[in-house]
Assembly symmetry: C2
Homo-oligomer: 557 residues x 2
């Protein structure tokens, strides 16, 4: 049989990665990243207000650049061998679209309006709206629509963001016919069906972020939405009722996009889904395995048979949705709002004196490169020195909620804290305390799942931190007191997307078969140290106590 | 009348300063600092264990260097016009001495033994001993000897330090016949009377730090001390019963020291006292004026007529002693264990990445100079940026106990904290929060005095921070909601010492007369901003709440 390739497109926070995967072996034949240009310059964002928006043109430009770059690494015939496309994106990252499904920012009057763009997952401008959704869901007398999303709706999610933008921007509100998730829009664009009413919506996005559930026939009722705000009147009917898992074909690649990307027209494009969920599949997820995607934040994924979870709602997580990760199993999602971002915060803090050296060189790109090199070196030095401090000997205790808390019990109004400072507290001690704090945050998620009856027997780690920081991984294994296996593939999101597309293209019968044939295995296992685990058992209790003690005061700051 | 000079010697934490003061006008004619050489190199100290020791030879060498340097700035006849010497030092800074009153570290077998040296005020190795003193004072059934020292004995003080050293070092314990405060030893040395039984001991040191009080005829009873630890048996009789205020002559300058310093033999050397107390006199202290000496830490001083304080013990301060500041008035002392040190902590933290640049230059002195210049520049940049953040807008709340808490309610086991961290928290925001926290710490002292019936009508600020940081001073005035006057003299400690020596030498009849003739007045007043004061009223309550919430957990870290 002739070799078949699958194109996996992984849209992350800063860039898109195109990976050409061998459909038979799972081997990653070529791999190209392209950064979002407007985003990299900080356009349309206001970090002080936690406003993070992305321009749809960034996605288009970078996708073309990445695909072209990846194919250029292979013989010129490679493009012809591509048999399917799988796509994952960040989420919830919704965008207002017009009647034809075009993102408003692609229309001239809105081209520089951040409210007409994709509202990135980590945008926290909708804190108030999330609070109102939570209040109404509990008080309105009907079904609590948050119950399959952990019982607490987050400001990072679909409806909160939509409502915030509609309230803030009457011009956008007037023009927004419907809304699409980034994961829905990319396949829609490539298959030429962007009609908001018929494009194939992701089960994963809808079920985890949009309060979609078969129990109430899809999205929350019109009555509920109008009670929330009359601005939402009629929107439900302009959104969707059906949703699809990513083993389903969203459609076929159009002639136009085939030409632009240099691959065959008519090939299968799979329904999109969120990076974490698809990455978990790429990392080999199965029942009782917690898959932890560790980057700037974490996503913690489990799949469980319906019999294990049953009708029960798991409290305080980000959601439980049939088929949102692996078709046929309940996908459960949790996560930490900041993980690597917590370490990056300390590096940025320590970088502060160095900004004054930035007058040289003149060229912005060289400057950015230098800046990043210095920060990488700082992180490396911090890691080396912090690793020499024994567990619990920093003298410090920290809370890792620098970007709010996603799970357990979402609360974006929480903040971070460091206590125990003395005149001898130095940067490595603070770094160690922050690493320990993010590990305690991981443990709080594990304990919540177990307390809710979901079995966890082992942990698989994916993502940049898992690949690059043995120190962080060892501390996390010690705190969790469980071995952590690291997947061999550094591109499990793109690999997972390719697995789904291989099923959608008819190469495999189901996801388990694709995982077996295309999976990369594990490169390393971090085994917990028994003595350290004992120390951390005690410190973890102090962490929980500190959180309980400070929660109310942190919300008021 | 021919001009008369007084030599004021101010022994600080890092250096001694010699100031030649005109006895008639108070004008500072010459001024020379000399740093303690062994101390500057970090010898005999272990900051990680909070062990800070100073070698007596450092005091001798630096005193000679400073006096020589000051006199060299004046016509060669100036030395002959010196009519008295006044001395202040840090404290409680005790040292073990032999039968003749020689500090053990000046004897060959002990020359490099930190336990044979002066235990600097900020040494916190005696935390356990202070706890035992407090427990025993409450439980033994006799008088509570801590009652005139605020009711809580500190690890920074005389008996705790003595007991710690005796327990830790049997060789020192065997050789230590008696103990002297730095403030007692310097005049003793210069007047040739170092006999521990007859040298004139400072009322200030004894009353504030050694539980000396006329109510129980001097030091705590032998019974109490032996109950505390049999190691203390007999020591009481080898210490002292009488104490003296600094308007009293300790003795006359010996021929030997007259020769070494280049000033006349036989001139009056006043009894020594602590820098803060003497500095308050140099700054013009009088009833209802809180004098705040603001440097690495603060000392907060008030004098009150006996009628105002009466028999009442003011709770949670560092002590109340008749004549410890101004003879004839009750001297009340409080303070913050870290003030400028809190800012220096942040600067050191931010300096961490810069340490890697330290390979150049090679020469240690140039290196240290560069290091200090960079740190000064950092502090200046932090100040400029923090000053632009409105009150209460850092998003942070901090506790200033990075070196424990001295008052109210001494507790060296407390630590600092910063809460409210977000991914947008930068160095200037942290600096602003720390400055606000040290100001809240100042306010907690003011409120304690007022709650205990001690009137405070205005504030006079002395010390490095008062002179150099308008930003910190304005925040402090806003938080206290009181005007703060800054004394014109930058050397109020040396000036105050000179005032006392002028009385001891018979030039003036009493301290008030010396203050009137020699005082420097005020160079600047910081007036509180009413709107800011209102914001801080609210934030101060949050600070108090945070402290109450975290106290127990901070002690356990």
């Amino acid at each position: 049989m002739a070799v078949q390739y699958i194109l996996g497109l992984d849209f992350g926070t800063d860039s898109v990665r195109a990976v050409v995967v061998n459909a038979q072996s799972g081997k990653e034949e070529a791999n190209q990243v392209a950064y979002f240009k407007r985003w990299t310059k900080g356009q349309y964002c206001d970090p002080a207000r936690n406003q993070f928006r992305q321009h749809p043109q960034d996605y288009i430009d970078s996708m073309e650049e990445a695909v072209e770059g990846a194919l250029a690494q292979l013989p010129s015939s490679a493009g012809e061998a591509v048999a399917g496309i799988g796509i994952d994106t960040t989420g919830s990252t919704p965008c207002p679209v017009d009647r034809g499904g075009t993102p408003l920012a692609l229309k001239a009057p809105f081209k520089d309006n951040p409210n007409a763009m994709f509202v990135l997952w980590k945008d926290h401008t909708a804190v108030k709206e999330a609070e109102q959704i939570n209040e109404l869901a509990r008080s309105w007398g009907g079904v609590d629509y948050t119950k399959y999303e952990g019982g607490i709706y987050s400001s990072e999610w679909f409806w909160a963001k939509i409502l915030h933008v509609l309230r803030e921007d009457p011009k956008v509100a007037a023009e927004a016919h419907s809304w699409v998730e980034h994961a829905d829009w990319m396949p829609a664009l490539l298959t030429g069906n962007t009609d908001p009413l018929t494009l194939k919506r992701s089960r994963c996005a809808a079920g985890h972020k949009a309060m979609w559930h078969p129990e109430w026939d899809g999205l929350p009722s019109e009555e509920f939405l109008v009670k929330l705000d009359p601005l939402l009147k009629g929107l439900r009917e302009r959104l969707f009722r059906e949703t699809y898992t990513s083993d389903v074909k969203a459609g076929e690649l159009t002639e136009e996009w085939a030409g632009r990307l240099g691959i065959p027209a008519g090939i299968a494009v799979a329904v999109g889904a969120f990076d974490a969920h698809i990455g978990a599949v790429g990392g080999g997820i199965g029942p009782a395995t917690l898959t932890k995607i560790m980057g700037t934040s974490t996503c913690d994924m489990i799949v469980a048979p319906d019999a294990e979870v049953g009708d029960k709602q798991v409290a305080g997580i980000c959601g439980q949705v049939d088929g949102s990760i692996v078709p046929g199993l309940i996908g459960l999602e949790a996560g930490q709002s900041a993980f690597g971002d917590v370490y990056a915060w300390l590096v940025n803090l320590l970088y502060w004196p160095l900004q004054y050296a930035e007058s040289v060189p003149d060229d912005p790109e060289t400057k950015e490169k230098l800046r990043q090199d210095i920060k990488d070196k700082l992180l490396q030095n911090l890691t080396e020195e912090a690793a020499r401090i024994p567990p619990g000997q920093s003298g410090l205790l920290a809370l890792d909620w620098l970007n709010g808390r996603r799970t357990p019990d979402a609360d974006q109004s929480l903040k971070g804290a460091i206590i125990g400072l003395s005149l001898g507290t130095d940067a490595p001690r603070i770094f160690r305390a922050l690493v320990e704090a993010t590990a305690y945050g991981s443990r709080a998620i594990v304990e919540r799942f177990r307390n809710e009856g979901v079995a966890i027997q082992d942990v698989v780690a994916l993502g940049g931190i898992a690949q690059k920081s043995p120190f962080v991984m060892q501390v996390t294994a010690d705190v969790l007191n469980m071995p952590i296996k690291v997947a061999t593939s550094e591109q499990t999101c793109a690999l997972g997307a390719a697995m789904f597309a291989a099923v959608a293209a008819g190469i495999y019968n189901n996801v388990a078969e694709a995982q077996e044939k295309m999976g990369s295995g594990f490169s390393r296992t971090y085994t917990p140290d028994a003595a350290n685990a004992k120390v951390y058992d005690r410190l973890y209790e102090q962490y929980l106590q500190l959180g309980r003690t400070l929660e109310q005061q942190l919300r008021e700051l």
